[in-house]
Point group: C2
Chain length 364, copies 2
């Protein structure tokens, strides 16, 4: 018997539809592991969700770092049960905290128009957008910038009341995400990188971002770089999404672009995301872009493709590019109307979460 490397995966389903799509994500991972001989061991954790909060009054156990910090990756569902836990408790108390604690400084989100999914966009001549028209990777700075926790309130409850919040960008923080983005752009056929800025309005931090982009560009003469202010960039996403390959942005701008881009591909319901610590000093986290979707939770009709695709990104990050590509092809095969595969209601079908998960696993 040969000794196989076993990757330990922390599984955190979260709440809402997170608990429904997670089993399908795991089903496909298991199928891929078998087919490609990958060793995966799953440890399940019940925190970072509403039921845990209800029992314990906090989102995470005190020893959460010890319990998941030694894993090779975190496979996450969704969190955010509404109106029960305030947003800032549920998110800063889990997702955003993981990003910082595990120094997941890259948030990577592919936006790709898939077969069988209708884009809300048409081309300039009015014809439908087709797969290939939209195929970009959003690289978002994931630990600093506009999401700082420094600031506060003054003159509370009076007419003079005011609030202040800092945006903080460090050379360390900006350079490392830029380097990741430039390397990624270099590895792609088009070798094209777009930087999102707003240096004409946000006149202190954003010019610094631009400065670091210029400095980094000098080290990557083979990468073609352009730069747009975030306002007009959102317009370009809608008018000519084909112009973009890798897009790098600050924490806030990346957050916006990585919802807008998947929306342009027809549905954020199937978009995946990776929160990466590229040096692998800490576990990286993989999760669908969609939230916990309380409106459809409990009905078994959530689309599991975002979760499954996130699993593919995880395998890629762990070193299994082939397995990633195979899962992507399986997803495409199931989505392709020619194949008549199952579709959940968000894509106009009548099938269930489990039907889609099984179909993708079978197509592997």
């Amino acid at each position: 018997m040969t000794t196989q490397r076993v990757h330990r995966i922390a599984v955190i389903p979260g709440d809402g539809i997170g608990t429904e799509v997670m089993p399908e994500g795991l089903r496909v991972l298991q199928a891929a592991a078998e087919r490609f001989g990958i060793g995966l061991a799953f440890d399940h954790f019940d925190f970072a969700c509403w039921p845990y909060y209800e029992r314990h009054g906090q989102m995470l156990p005190d020893d959460w770092r010890e319990r998941i910090g030694g894993h090779d990756a975190i496979f996450f569902g969704a969190v955010g049960w509404p109106a029960k836990i305030p947003d800032h408790v549920s998110l800063w108390g889990s997702l955003l905290q993981f990003r910082r604690a595990f120094d997941q400084y890259v948030n990577l989100r592919p936006a790709r128009l898939m077969p069988g999914v209708r884009s809300p966009l048409v081309r300039r001549d009015g014809t439908p957008r087709a797969p290939g028209d939209i195929d970009m990777l959003i690289v978002r700075e994931n630990t600093e910038g506009e999401y700082s926790s420094i600031g506060g309130r003054m003159f509370e409850g009076t007419e003079r009341e005011l609030v202040v919040q800092e945006t903080v960008m460090t050379r360390h923080g900006v350079d490392r995400v830029l380097r990741y983005a430039f390397e990624l752009a270099r590895s792609r056929p088009r070798k094209h990188l777009t930087s999102a800025t707003k240096s004409n309005g946000i006149a202190i931090t954003m010019p610094y971002w631009d400065e670091r982009v210029r400095a980094m560009a000098a080290a990557y003469p083979d990468v073609q770089v352009d730069q747009y202010h975030i306002d007009i960039l959102t317009a370009h996403f809608v008018q000519r999404p084909e112009a973009f390959d890798v897009v790098v942005a600050s924490n806030l701008f990346g957050d916006i672009l990585s919802d807008l881009a998947p929306a342009c591909t027809g549905t954020i319901g199937i978009a995946p995301s990776a929160n990466l610590n590229p040096e692998r000093r800490h576990p990286s986290l993989f999760e669908p872009v969609h939230g916990s979707a309380p409106d459809i939770a409990g009905r078994g009709i959530a689309n599991p493709i975002g979760q499954i695709w996130s699993g593919a990104l995880m395998l890629d990050f762990l070193g299994y590019r082939q397995a990633h590509d195979a899962i992507l092809r399986a997803i495409e095969a199931v989505l392709d109307p020619a194949g008549g595969g199952p579709r959940t209601p968000d894509l106009g079908g009548h099938d269930r979460t489990t039907d889609v998960g099984r179909a993708v696993a079978d197509a592997l």
Copy 2:
């Protein structure tokens, strides 16, 4: 002879295509003034543009406040000749300075799908978007928020280098723009207001914004209010723009939404904007959303409709709603393909800036 009230308008064409579209804006204003018996007197100013900067080393004369501060309105073209004046000089040295100095705390931008303009969006069933599908007003806070000028840099030129910039929101600043937005929503048939937030990530300033929205909403029980995080809101603009009526947002979020929304209507080339001091203590400023477009400047083919429409907003603000409506109908008549009116190249035509200006004036 009856004494007519004469409104003194400061005219600042700017640079690039600003100087080409301005004469058409004035042509239509003059036609409307004649038809509706409105007294308009125009004073032309040659500052806030590249040529002025070249001669004087600054964007504005030292006495610019005295020279334009007493006017009833400012009619502005565009500024931003590229690569000659740094953005932060040209814009902070004119547009952004006007906004602050004249306390133009509301930036109002209509986004409306016009006849004869193709939206890059389709409906969920794949059919084209038609006029009526997109008809919203973006109300942007225009003086504070993310565009603060407080902050700086530390450890310059070293590995530890960092920059910090403050977002500042005051109760005074937030409440007055919200009040304007609520009043506007109340005056519209749908009475619907959407607030853009990001309180789940920007956890100090944005929850304050939300708090003020809730407080203001209590005074407007007839206005239906909803709220979206900016990331998903950009997705909704693309997927269901028909859902939005009045949208209120912070300085940065409003900047983004008021480029994205016109892009969804097919072209930001025709979108207008108003920078308002609603109390009329200072002049308000009216300008097209587009910039100075150096790539097409000097060729006489820029679309003047954004400038003309901005003139209509100015007349509305000065109290001439009828004249505003008449200009809008004239623009629609010229744009309507059924009428065979002139079209500039950006709308697929071969006509010139002046042709369109004349046609709108004639259609009045």
